[in-house]
Symmetry: C2
Subunit: 273 residues, 2 copies
């Protein structure tokens, strides 16, 4: 385990969605360095088996350890669901997923005990948020709704578009009928549709953004372990990005959502790890 | 090479889209048996490198040869583009892709020499249809338009939906302005949006469905090689389906688009081949 507070934080995802998590870490822990890995060669994870996703996660963690990270954030719902428990036991550094923090906040903040979750088909089918929420509070009722078009709509750049609004109205209609007061954005792309989803759901529904909550959880975990990077001196390249295949789409998307120019993305052979 | 006319035809795709090609073969060559492989563990191919897609294609062809197929149809635009030439030299049985037949028909049938192509980002970026079309007729002008939402819309089942129409109007608007008279459906999912695309483009635009054209090309290739299966006796399981990961979504989709019940899908370990 790397106990140097100057070491970077490792963040990984099946592709580009986890950049919303990296973005929240950049915002809430501006002194930290980040090594991001997007498994663009093997995306999406949602349709793959538990065993496969666990194998992929182990490979990526071995790669990140080679980059001497001090902690790891699994910024992918499927990998958090399938791999987090196992890799926490296998590796000695602090590892966070994106499901814990969001469900803790949702369970704490709901007033009527009716919580909605939106995500990809795979995430909703896995009922992973429901399992976590029920452990925290057996009395909550959880309503899941897959929204498979949201990811391609975000990747198309139509985040403030009448068509996306129309699709959101259709997807979210049944959750509105269920009278939920809290909605978990259970997919890393969805924070980019936050404004639109809030408008469709109404102001009385509390949206939970797991990317934001995870960055706060990371902050306190680093503090507990004496791993917070001190000072505000900026290195020239505090953020490094790696992918497993063709980097073009990744770089385009990164430049859309990050507040600075991502010019360098390095392709690595993840199967070697 | 298997020269038994009773042997099945191998059809493969990165996932479920190639089922539209299998469907056309079932319609136009009803006596033939089919072994279909969908690489659901490694879908999509569009974002992967040439080298990776070629390796995957070789593995799948080795698997299909084990099933004793007499001919192979690569029912995937990316694999047709990246692998067809190489595997034709490496393997001795007849192999077809989905790009040839459609571009031949388009080049022959256009009257004003203005041809549109729609497909995924990867297919359009590769300009593969344009390259084929220009070889057939250097005077044609080719306009490509990626339609990334069409695949998830089809998989959502919204093939006759006002939202899909609205998106089609937006995607196809610039092709209409270009005054094309021929439009190639350059993605295996798109034949399922055929009616809607025809309505948006207008009756004067000839839609070219490569799935259909490829089935006709296969028919004449089998005839040329004396490989047409004779008789109309139906075996109990003339169509067999294999996938590389979780079969649920595959089976659901297959049951939506095929005119009979697909109950059995077998998962195999494609990395072994």
């Amino acid at each position: 385990m790397n106990t140097d507070p100057n070491a970077p934080i490792g963040v990984f995802d099946s592709g580009i969605g986890g950049l919303t998590v990296a973005r929240e870490i950049m915002r809430n822990l501006p002194a930290e360095k980040i090594v991001y890995f997007g498994d663009t060669a093997r995306v999406p994870y949602g349709s793959k088996s538990r065993e496969t996703v666990l194998r992929f996660s182990r490979q990526i963690i071995r790669f990140l350890l080679e980059q001497e990270v001090k902690a790891i954030v699994i910024a992918c719902n499927t990998a958090s669901s399938f791999a987090l428990d196992a890799v926490r036991q296998e590796f000695s550094l602090p590892i966070l997923g994106v499901i814990d923090a969001g469900t803790i906040v949702a369970a704490k903040e709901t007033r009527n005990g009716r919580i909605g979750v939106i995500g990809t088909e795979g995430t909703i089918r896995s009922r992973i948020h429901e399992i976590f929420l029920k452990k925290l509070n057996p009395n909550v009722t959880v309503y899941g709704r897959p929204c498979p078009l949201f990811v391609p709509l975000v990747e198309e750049g139509w985040t403030h578009d009448p068509i996306t609004r129309e699709i959101a109205v259709r997807y979210l209609g049944e959750l509105k009928e269920k009278d939920i007061d809290t909605l978990i954005l259970g997919c890393t792309h969805y924070p980019l549709l936050r404004t639109l989803i809030q408008e469709v759901m109404g102001e009385h529904v509390r949206l939970v953004n797991p990317a934001y909550e995870t960055s706060l959880e990371l902050k306190s975990l680093l503090a507990d372990n004496g791993l917070i990077r001190q000072g505000t001196d900026r290195e020239e390249f505090p953020y490094r990005f790696f992918v497993s295949d063709l980097a073009e789409k990744f770089t385009m998307f990164a430049n859309t959502i990050l507040p600075y120019d991502v010019s360098m993305t390095q392709k690595i052979d993840i199967e070697k790890y």
